[in-house]
Amino acid sequence: MPETVNDYLLRAGRLPDGGLRFVDRGEQATWVGWGEVRERALAVAAGLLGAGAGRGDRVALVFPTGVEFFAAFFGALLAGAVPVPLYPPVRLGRLQEYVSRTTRMLAACDALVVLADARVKRFLGEAVAAARPRLGCRTLADLPTGVPADSADVAAAAGGGPRPDELALIQFSSGTTVAPKAVALSHRAVVAQTEILSGCWSDREGLRHSCASWLPLYHDMGLIGCVFPALARDATLTLLPPELFVARPALWLRAIGRYGATISPAPNFGYSLCLTRVADAEMEGVDLSCWRAALNGAEPVAPGVLRAFARRFARWGLSPAALTPVYGLSEAALAVTFSALDQPCRSGWYDREALAEERVARRVSPGAHDAHGAHGAGDAPPGLATLPDRAQEIVSVGRPLPGFRLSVRDPQGRELPPGRVGRLWVSGPSLMQAYLGDPEGTARTLRAGWLDTGDLGFLEDGELYLTGRAKDLIILRGRNHSPAEIEQAVDTLPGARAGCAVAVSWLPDGASGEVLALFVERSRHATPAELAALPDACREAVLAATGLALDRLEVLAPGTLPRTSSGKLQRSETLRLHLAAKLTPPAPVTPLRLARAAARSGLGYARWRLARRREGLT
């Protein structure tokens, strides 16, 4: 029984189909067996050890999807170090945002060295100069060579293989410039998660599962969800670079069909992008009937997108049972719940008022509803045409995976019965060890073996339904962002009231994905010209600082945003008020209000009467 990720690597490569297939933009594939990955990783490990890296040192990795990422990732592990996969720069511009984010992440994980792709390396200069990792930034070719790279030699030089309680990797739970959260995962946690996932795809009846993915390798669903189970099962993983998927989503579906992938995950955004950017002509000859598990997680699942995707791609053999909503978070290594494989997913319609006000899940239609019925995106089921006004459709994300437990709790931490909406806590074998360098954050999140997910939801028939988030977190296209980085972007704009902005995101009914909204209070001294320019200025500033486009923007009167008694802005309350159309400014200065204020003193009242008479108001 393997105890560490290193164990998986050392025993992989025995089966002929065990390895990585990289698909490029011309749809040409390059095959690299797990045995070759191991050889390359051993060379990197020897180089790292030669350069002075050692046990527990953090090795930051900045690579596009390709074999070098794997050589570097597993090389760090074989050297006894801890790999920290980071985002490579995206295309066109955005360099400043990228540099500041990378600098923060390098500091947060206390990186000893940055290993980077040769093309990426020249963009890292500023971040590396600011974070100053001791061994600098190197390409794999820059590492010392000539050291014999035998696995026994490397293990001896690394001081023996890692123990299960040592760190296997660090992943960032939100790609933020403000407060990056470095999630530290032990080998034990990663192996536990890998075994659970591998158990979901055990080979049987002549079916050999294989996975295809375009997800980035610095993302938990891409790395832990796709790479490790393939390695553990000595199976095939077909990979497309994420930027290729965004440019031409059809290549994902074509790769699934061509290579007979049975498993392929994506966040809701990926399915939604296929609906809008895949042309029928690109699907000619594609057969998706091999696709057994189209896992949908990492961001809230939109029922309309599920339905529309199932309906649109049924023509190319997609089984409606393939769509599988799931739930997880990087703090739990990845997956916590799965809906039933090989069965259509389930959803229910719930009374919106009851969910929001009473915090009770009250069904407004009898029984579970098949989310794949013959309805279009956002359609209500037959006979329920009037429902959406007072009902909200929520998709089940399924039951806890083996070893996991769910607990829905009230704000005081008491467990709530099924059907009551509360804060979701989870326990299981793959929880993180800590947020690196953040003991307070860790203590808030991990308590007595339970993890506070910060998500809101309820249980029904043992299945989990998510209703929103209690924690302040923006989730867009499968990536987490801190609201603070969006709010700070508009802080110093002329006409904006400094420190009085709130960013929230949520999944509206019938929408294809989460929308991002920013609420900004205007300054009391704003000139009309500043106010006129403020909305555009806000959109620009947020894009420039974060790369995110605002879907909604509201400029509000000073004092409109809800605050705690200590004056702190309340994000979730802002969203609640906005959705209830109750986000209104404090009572403005009207004659009536003046009258009330004036009436507090007789003298003032007399003056007010006098003034009104003069203005001819009485």
């Binding site: 720069p89 995206v90 295309r91 066109l92 511009g93 955005r94 360099l95 093309r119 990426v120 020249r122 963009f123 930027e243 965004v246 440019a247 031409r248 992008l273 950017r277 296209r477 959109r539 620009e540 894009l543 420039a544 790369g547 995110l548 486009a549």
Partner: protein
């Protein structure tokens, strides 16, 4: 030539990014066209498809405006 390229990029922006209205060389991709990272990727890919060129990371780091993109494509086609 530069005008043809600009018109081509304008068509890409209309077709794939839903950009309505005129496109001029001085417009900035992020601030003026309001392109987030996914849309920047889309623009880069579709410009490559249309003009049959390959952009590289070095080219792209310097691209801030529509004019920069036009100039990069023009150099590649030359």
């Amino acid at each position: 030539m530069a005008t043809d390229i600009l018109n081509g990029i304008a068509e890409v922006a209309r077709e794939h990014l839903g950009w309505e209205g005129p496109l001029t060389a001085d417009m900035r991709l992020i601030e003026d066209l309001r392109l987030d990272s996914v849309r920047l990727l889309t623009l880069a890919a579709e410009v490559e498809n249309r003009f049959r060129v390959l952009l590289s990371e070095t080219d792209e780091a310097a691209i801030v405006t529509v004019g920069d993109l036009v100039e990069t494509v023009r150099r590649k086609l030359a």
